[in-house]
Each structure stands twice: as structure tokens, then as C-alpha cells.
Amino acid sequence: MLQITDLTKRFKDLTAVDRISFQVNPGEIFGFLGPNGAGKTTTINCICGLLKPDSGAITIDGQDVVAGGDQVRKMLGVVPQEVALYEEFNAIENLQFWGGLYGLKRSQLKSRVDTLLELTGLKDRAKDAVSTYSGGMKRRLNMAAGMIHQPKLLLLDEPTVGIDPQARHQMLDTVRHVAGQGTTILYTTHYMDEAETLCDRIAIIDHGRILAMGIQTEIQQIVGENRLLKVTGAFEKSTAESLPQKMKDLVLLSIQENEVLYSLPIKQTTGAFLEILMKSGFEIDHLAIKEPSLDSVFIKLTGRELRD
């Protein structure tokens, strides 16, 4: 459905996107995972024609995005990171306007508006001005506006930023529902759990480059079958650094004043690790154990946690 080849976008001296290539298959939810400033939104903006790439090619259903015009536009739905709605209009008026721009006929429009209001749980407040909505409701309507014309490819740019867990859960369910109906989805996020639970395939992007790509299990193989052990408390730096010598396969990943991060194969028991810690004179306040996940992949690939 979406094919990106050697896409590069520069802003003066900054290369925001650096020769990235990937493809998204029909009906797939493709996760684009990376911290803020990694190049996710720039990529989305190039795909939907808001930015002109410096080099590379983008095709949707075989049609070039840059030269595509209205035909490509109709295949594409965008849910921007910011709420892009008219606050003086109500939900119905907003959806009717955005649908009208894609040439939906009156009867089609009515049916789509009803469906989406039902899907996003906004039917009861459909006639209230958007200015009276909560942040979560605005986000849901923002998403509905991007889907009003039933696009073949839906670009969701961090749609859950700044909303409460309940609204977030509801939005993720909506995304699954839409994908279930055959819409291809490119979903950018910096939330690991969203990518893990929602996406069929994931690309990890940082500093404009794709670091890893594949299905979740493929990506996790990058770090192997390791769990992360984060120890918080009082300790000597030299003691923390010497710990891997005392336990086989234990790897020191990062060290800070009161916090140290190790990786340990899942075949090793955390009990043995805890025993070594105690013997080495660690005063433990807290021990967090993270099972193998995208988190650990990101740390392995970039040397830092995603939230950094």
C-alpha cells in the first residue's frame, strides 16, 4: 500500500529524515516508534504531501505522492498530532465539512458521520460545540475527522498524546476496529506499550534513521532473551561496575548516581542476581525487573531509554 524508498528530508543543516525505506502492506498496522525529534512527524508530513522530500520516492497504491494530486489525496487520511478541528462547530458540522472536502455525497456523509460518532462514543455530545469538549473527546473527534472518507491509508501521528488512560484505551480499540475493516495504518508513537499491543510490524527510528524493523518478536531478537534489571539505591560506582565480573552473562547498560541498569538472560534467575547485589554492599531501595520488550531493544540500539 505504502512504499517509501530512500526518503531524505533536510531542514538547512539538520537532516530530519535520512534515506529511510520501508513499506506498509495492505490492512497492516505499522508502528513507527521513536522519541520526540526522531523524524516520525517529518516522515508523515512527506507522505501526506505537506513537505516536499529532498530525495527519495513515496508511492501510495503505486501512485507517486508528489505528483499524485486529488486521486492520492482521497486515498489518504491524516490524524495530525494536534487537534485540528473548528471549535465553534459541533461534531456533526466538523465531520460534514471534512467529509465534504473529499467529495462525499449528502447521504454518504450522513451515514459516515453516524457511524463514526457511534464508533468514537460521541453521539450524545454530537450537537455540542467542540469548544465544550474534554481533551479526550477532541482527540477522538480529531481521529474521526481523519477517517470520514474511508481512506485506504490512515496516518496517525501520536494520536494519544496527552489523554487519560481510559480515552487512550478507547482510541486504540478504534484503531484496531478500523484496521479490521481493511484500512492500512501507519501509527507513530513514542509509547512502547502502544506499539507492542497495537502494531503488526514496527520500525524503530532515531535521528532520522530506521534502526530496526520487523514484527515484534523479530525486533526483540536484537536484544536476545534478556530482561532488564534496574536497581535504585545507594552503592559505590566501582562496585556496580564490577558486578558483571561476578555473574555470568550480566551486562551493565547504564549507570547514574542512584540508579544502575543491567541486562540478564532470562535463563538466569533474578534471585541469584539479588544475592550478589546484597553481598556486594548495595543498599537497595527498589528493584525493577523488565521482561524482554521493545524498551530493551531501544536501549540496546540507542544506548538510552525511549523517554530520554
Binding site: 504531501g49 505537506l50 494530486g69 489525496r73 485540528a84 462547530f89 472536502l101 475527522a145
Partner: protein, 414 residues
């Protein structure tokens, strides 16, 4: 597609109409206020009254003639006259109790009879703007009329002078003869003593004609303030270019329609809103101010408004096309609007400006707009009569709108 975008903007305005209505009401209120201040009242009285203080140091027939002149029916509507004792006028003026003080010097009457030069002294109150000026001009007219009267009445005055010099009494037939001669002379200089400013009111005191004068005044003022208010109105609406960007709705529109349609639709919306304002203002102004326009005049106005709005839209759109952000646009636009409006005669009639300003006023599109509107409404000008105005405003529209479209697209694309 473009029409859908325009419809959306119109619906948004209808949802929050307060700002829009204020913009429509503004020219009407301006015209009403200016008309009330400077126009004649229904009773024929002027709103500006001149408090005139006369210090008569001569106490002669001639000085009484000057003082009584202010008791004339026409001057009574404008002047409140009080006579001060000799030497009392100046202290009252210093207290700000009069607009002007006229001092009639001792020997004024004798000097007239002997046809010697004599000067009246007028002291104006510096804290008042208009009233002292009116007093000065009226005294000047009276002085000129009096001068003329004295030269024409040389015969009777010579008789009086001889009798006074020889200390002999004037007989009753001589007094009657002089009375007839003086009456005839006064009739001859009547137009000079009571000049057109004053006599026009008496000769056109018919109610309907007074109403018509007032309506013409309102129409004259409205043409000026309307063009200025339209520019302000278009400026407020043009902020939408940046507001859509700030509210992120531009992003979604660009994806759905492309930038060119967005820019064209926004310009279309601003243009159409200007036309709606124009029509609304005249629809209210015509019955409110009793402006009488024939159907042909209305048709000419409607046709001219299409060109006028395009020209004004060009000016505002160019400002916003060159502005980097909304704040910059909002800062620059009012200065340009006020400059063009003042230069175009929107607030102050151009006749009141020095000649060199009148010459450069043609660079202001506002000038061409106002002048054509006044010609249509007040002089029943045909489209041919205002063809220069139409041509210039069309040129302004083309020269400004086309680059504006290009600049706006370039700016929002980046």
C-alpha cells in the same frame, strides 16, 4: 471545493457574529455621530453656539448697529451675545466665559461719519477650536458690509457731518430723505451683510429640503468612513490565514485540498464578506439616514462595489502575504489602512488638506473608492463618469492579488 471552504468560513462567522456586526455597525455609527455634530439640527439651530461678548466703548449709532446685527434672526441661531461695560470684557474672557470678545473702540461712530480709518478688536478664546473662528469670519463680513455701506452713504453722511460741524439742527424732511436713502442702500448691501452662509438657511427653510441636505451630508460622510471600515473589516477577516495555521486546521485542509485552493478560498471569503458588509451597511443607511438613491444608482453602486472590494482586498491580502505571522500583519495593517484612509479623505474632506497632499492622495486606492461612491450617490454619476476610478481599482486588484496568491502559497507551503 473552493466554495465549500468559503461556505465553511461564512458559517464560522455566522456562529460568532458579534465581531462581524460591530464591523458593519462601525461606519453607520461614525456617519451618525459626525452628521450629528456637524450637520444642521431639525430646528435649524446649529449645535455649535458662539458665546460672543461685545464691549461697546463708543455707545453710538454705529456701535449699536454692529451689536444689533447679532440679533438678526439667522445670527441668533448661532450666537449668544452679551454686552459688557467698558473695560469689563477682557476679565470675562480671561475667565473663559466667551468664545470671542469684540471691542468697539471709542469714537467708532465719529470715525465712520468722517470716513476715517477705524479698527475693531477681536480677542479669540484659545481654548475653543471652531467658535472663535466663526466669530472672526462673521465680524469680517460685517466689517466689509459696513465699509461698503459707509462708502455708498457718502451723501447722507456728508449732510450729517456738515450739520454736526455747524451745530445746526437737521430738519424733519431732511431726516426723512436721509432715512429713505439709507434704507435703499442697506437693501443694496443686504447680501453682503448677511452673506450666503447665513442666508442659505432662510431661503431653503423648507423642511423636506433641509432633510435632503442632512441626508446628503450623511451620504457624504458614510462614503468615506465606509471604505475605511471595509478595510478594517477585511483586515480582521484576513487574520484567518494565520488563525487556521495556529489552530492546525490548515494542515488537514492542505492534505485534503492542497494549498492553492486554501489560499483562493480564503481570499474569496474575505472578498465575499466585504461585499456582504457593503450591502448591509447601505441597506441600513438608506432608511436610517433618509438617503435617496434611484434604482439605477443602486445598480451602479452594486457594480462598483465588485471592483472596490477587489481593490481593497488586494491591499489587505498583500499586507498579510508579506507578513511573517499574525502579529506582524495586525501591527502593519492598521497603519497602512489609516494612512490610505486619511490620504483618501475618509475622515477629513480632502479640500481641507494642503494642495500637495491633495495631489498625492491619488496614490491611495481609498481615494478612488470614496470619490467614486460620492459621485454615484451625490452627483448621480454614471459608470462612464467613474471609468477612471474603475480602471485604477481594477489595476490595483490585479497587481496586488496575483502576487499575493503566489506569496501566500509559498509561505504556507513552507
Amino acid at each position: 471545493m473552493i466554495w465549500k471552504l468559503i461556505q465553511k468560513d461564512i458559517r464560522r462567522r455566522i456562529k460568532q457574529p458579534a465581531g462581524y456586526l460591530i464591523l458593519v455597525a462601525m461606519p453607520l455609527l461614525f456617519a451618525l455621530l459626525i452628521g450629528l455634530v456637524f450637520g444642521p439640527k431639525e430646528s435649524g439651530e446649529s449645535l455649535i453656539r458662539v458665546k460672543m461678548l461685545i464691549e461697546d466703548r463708543d455707545d453710538s449709532f454705529a456701535s449699536h448697529f454692529i451689536a444689533n446685527a447679532f440679533g438678526n434672526e439667522e445670527l441668533q441661531n448661532m450666537f449668544d451675545v452679551s454686552v459688557a461695560d467698558s473695560g469689563a470684557g477682557r476679565p470675562l474672557m480671561d475667565q473663559g466665559r466667551a468664545s470671542a470678545l469684540l471691542i468697539i473702540p471709542q469714537g467708532f461712530g465719529d470715525s465712520l461719519i468722517h470716513q476715517n480709518n477705524v479698527a475693531l478688536t477681536l480677542i479669540k478664546n484659545p481654548s475653543e477650536a471652531f467658535a472663535p473662528k466663526i466669530a472672526e469670519e462673521t465680524i469680517q463680513i460685517l466689517a466689509e458690509g459696513g465699509d461698503r455701506l459707509v462708502s455708498m452713504a457718502e451723501g447722507p453722511l456728508t449732510t450729517i457731518r456738515r450739520r454736526l460741524d455747524s451745530d445746526t439742527e437737521i430738519s424733519e424732511p431732511e431726516i426723512a430723505l436721509m432715512g429713505i436713502q439709507l434704507y435703499r442702500m442697506i437693501r443694496k448691501v443686504d447680501n453682503i451683510l448677511f452673506p450666503p452662509l447665513i442666508t442659505i438657511n432662510t431661503s431653503t427653510s423648507d423642511d423636506s429640503e433641509e432633510g435632503s441636505d442632512l441626508s446628503s451630508l450623511y451620504a457624504y460622510i458614510l462614503c468615506g468612513v465606509l471604505v475605511m471600515a471595509l478595510l478594517f473589516s477585511l483586515e480582521v477577516l484576513s487574520r484567518d490565514f494565520f488563525l487556521e495555521q495556529e489552530n492546525h486546521t490548515l494542515t488537514r485542509q492542505r492534505v485534503a485540498t492542497g494549498i492553492a485552493r486554501f489560499v483562493l478560498a480564503k481570499m474569496g471569503f474575505v472578498y465575499l464578506s466585504g461585499l456582504i458588509s457593503f450591502v448591509l451597511v447601505w441597506m441600513i443607511a438608506i432608511p436610517l439616514f433618509g438617503i435617496s438613491l434611484s434604482l439605477i444608482q443602486v445598480g451602479r453602486m452594486a457594480l462598483f462595489s465588485l471592483v472596490l472590494m477587489a481593490g481593497l482586498n488586494g491591499v489587505i491580502t498583500m499586507i498579510y502575504a508579506l507578513a511573517k505571522n499574525r502579529n506582524q500583519g495586525q501591527s502593519i495593517a492598521p497603519a497602512v489602512i489609516l494612512g490610505f484612509s486619511m490620504l483618501g479623505g475618509a475622515m477629513v474632506p480632502l479640500e481641507n488638506f494642503p494642495p500637495f497632499i491633495r495631489q498625492i492622495s491619488v496614490v491611495s486606492p481609498v481615494y478612488w473608492g470614496i470619490d467614486a461612491l460620492r459621485k454615484i450617490t451625490l452627483a448621480d454619476a454614471s459608470l462612464r463618469d467613474i471609468s477612471t476610478h474603475i480602471a485604477i481599482l481594477t489595476a490595483v486588484a490585479v497587481l496586488l492579488l496575483i502576487p499575493s496568491i503566489i506569496f501566500q502559497q509559498r509561505k504556507f507551503r513552507s
